[in-house]
C-alpha cells in the first residue's frame, strides 16, 4: 500500500474505533497503524497479516467528531547485541521503529523482536514494573524497560539499550543472575524468630513503617549493577543484598539482626559503599537504597534502633 493510503487509514482507523465498542479498539487501531509504518520503515520486514487488514477494514467507517489523535514517530533504537555462539564481541545494531510517546522501551524491543528481528533476546514478564525481569541500561542508566517511557527520552537522537553491567553477559540483554542471587541468599533473607505464636506476631504501625521502604524490593538488580564498586568487584554484596538485609534487621519481629550485621561487616560488606547514589537513582521502586545502607552502617556502629 502507498504511503498516502496508509496515512489515511491511520487517522480514520483510530477514530472509527469507538464504533466497535471494543475496549482495546483504540489501542488496537494504534498498534495496527504502527505495524504498518514499522513495516514500511524496515525494508524486508514481514507482510501485513490478514488480521491487520481486517481490523483496518472494520475501522474504516464514518467518524463522529474530529479528535486530536496521538501521532507515532520514528525512533532509532541501538541495541548492544551479543550471541555467544556467533560473536566474539558484542556489537551495536540499529533498529528503526515507529513509536507513540506514551509507549515504553519494552514496547520498542517487542516491536523489534516481533516485526524485525525475532532473534533479539531479552527477559520480560509483567511489563509494568513489579516483576523485575527487564532491568537494562538505557541511554547509560539502569532502568526497567517497562517503566521507561519513550516520551522521557530525546527521540531526535538514538536510544541506546544494553545489558546491565557487572554480571556475566549471556546473550543480548540477558545476563547471568546467579551471582546476584547468591549475594541475596548470603544475608539470610528470611524472618528468624523463636516461638510459635497461636496467631500473628504483633507489631505496631510505627514498627511496621520502620522497614516499609525496603520491603518494596523486586530483586531486579538495577541497583547492584549501577554500583561502581560492584562493577569492578563482583564480590561486593551490593545494594540489593544490603536492602534485603535492612528489611529484616529493622523488622521488630526478627531476632537475627546481629547475624546479618556480622555478615555485612565484611571486607565485601557495607563498608565498601561509597555513597554514589547510583543505586537510589536506579531503583525502579523508588527505594532510598543509599539511605538504607547508611542505616545499616549506623546500626553496626551504634546498634539497631528500631
Amino acid at each position: 500500500m502507498s504511503q498516502s493510503e496508509q496515512k489515511n487509514e491511520h487517522s480514520l482507523g483510530s477514530e472509527g474505533a469507538s464504533e466497535a465498542g471494543d475496549p482495546s479498539a483504540q489501542a488496537e487501531a494504534a498498534v495496527d497503524a504502527t505495524t504498518a509504518d514499522a513495516q514500511a520503515v524496515s525494508a524486508g520486514g514481514t507482510t501485513p497479516s490478514p488480521a491487520d487488514s481486517a481490523a483496518e477494514g472494520t475501522a474504516r467507517q464514518v467518524e463522529p467528531e474530529p479528535v486530536e489523535e496521538p501521532q507515532s514517530f520514528p525512533v532509532t533504537i541501538i541495541v548492544r547485541r551479543y550471541d555467544p555462539e556467533v560473536d566474539e564481541e558484542p556489537r551495536w545494531v540499529d533498529y528503526d521503529v515507529q513509536m507513540f510517546a506514551t509507549e515504553r522501551i519494552l514496547d520498542a524491543l517487542h516491536r523489534i523482536k516481533w516485526e524485525q528481528d525475532p532473534s533479539l533476546a531479552f527477559r520480560r514478564s509483567c511489563a509494568h514494573g513489579v516483576c523485575g525481569s527487564d532491568a537494562m541500561r538505557i541511554n547509560g542508566k539502569n532502568r526497567l524497560a517497562c517503566k521507561a517511557l519513550v516520551k522521557d527520552f530525546d527521540t531526535s537522537k538514538p536510544i541506546y539499550v544494553e545489558a546491565i553491567k557487572g554480571l556475566p553477559l549471556e546473550k543480548d540483554l540477558i545476563v547471568d543472575m546467579e551471582p546476584f542471587f547468591d549475594s541475596f541468599r548470603e544475608i539470610q533473607p528470611f524472618l528468624q524468630a523463636t516461638g510459635k505464636p497461636d496467631k500473628e506476631r504483633h507489631q505496631t504501625i510505627a514498627q511496621r513503617e520502620r522497614f516499609d521502604d525496603t520491603t518494596k524490593c523486586i530483586l531486579c538488580a538495577a541497583c547492584t549493577t549501577s554500583c561502581p564498586v560492584f562493577w569492578t568487584d563482583g564480590q561486593y554484596f551490593g545494594p540489593a543484598a544490603i536492602v534485603n538485609a535492612h528489611r529484616f534487621i529493622f523488622d521488630s519481629r526478627d531476632e537475627a539482626s546481629q547475624v546479618r550485621l556480622d555478615i555485612l561487616n565484611d571486607q565485601e560488606g557495607v563498608w565498601r559503599c561509597r555513597t554514589t547514589f547510583n543505586c537510589t537513582d536506579a531503583c525502579p521502586r523508588g527505594i532510598q537504597v543509599t539511605k538504607a545502607i547508611a542505616e545499616v552502617k549506623q546500626a553496626m556502629i551504634s546498634g539497631v534502633k528500631l
Binding site: 553491567k165 561502581p228 569492578t232 532510598q288
Partner: protein, 145 residues
C-alpha cells in the same frame, strides 16, 4: 544455572573491559562526586609522598632544602599548586559532605543539593586562594630574607 556461563571458563577476566565496555554509565551528582573524590585523592596521595620526602631534605642541609623549594616557586609550579590546592579543597569539602550523608538522614535525602553546596564552597575558597597565591607566585622576589 551458573555453570552454563561461558565467562567462567575464561582464563583471565579483564576488569578493565568490564568497566569500559558499552556506554559510560550516566550517573548523577553522587557518582561524579565520587569520581572526583577518587581522582583528587590519588593525586594528593602522590603529592604527599613527594612532599614528605622534599621536606625531609631539611635534615640534610639548608642549601639542599632551599634548592628543592626553589622549584616550587617557578610560575609553572605555581599554577600546579593552584590545581593541587583545588584538589585538596574539593577532596576536603566533598569528604565532609560524605560524612554528613553517612550520618544525617536529611543530608542523605538532599545529597544532590549538598553536592552543589560543596561546589559553591570550593569555588568561593578558590576565588580567595587563587589570586592571593598567584600574586605571590608572579611577584618578583628572590626568595631570601
Amino acid at each position: 544455572m551458573s555453570e552454563t556461563s561461558s565467562s567462567l571458563t575464561l582464563p583471565d577476566p579483564s576488569p578493565r573491559r568490564t568497566t569500559f565496555s558499552g556506554t559510560l554509565y550516566r550517573g548523577n551528582e553522587g557518582m561524579w562526586s565520587w569520581v572526583l573524590h577518587r581522582i583528587t585523592g590519588v593525586a594528593i596521595y602522590f603529592f604527599l609522598l613527594v612532599h614528605v620526602l622534599d621536606t625531609a631534605l631539611i635534615r640534610v642541609s639548608p642549601e639542599a632544602y632551599n634548592a628543592v623549594m626553589a622549584t616550587y616557586k617557578n610560575p609553572i609550579m605555581g599554577l600546579g599548586e593552584v590545581v593541587l590546592v583545588g584538589a585538596v579543597v574539593l577532596h576536603a569539602m566533598n569528604g565532609l559532605r560524605i560524612i554528613l550523608v553517612d550520618a544525617w538522614p536529611w543530608a542523605t535525602k538532599h545529597q544532590r543539593l549538598l553536592f552543589w553546596i560543596v561546589m559553591g564552597l570550593v569555588a568561593v575558597l578558590m576565588l580567595y586562594f587563587t589570586p592571593t597565591h598567584l600574586i605571590n607566585v608572579f611577584s618578583p622576589m628572590d626568595g631570601g630574607h
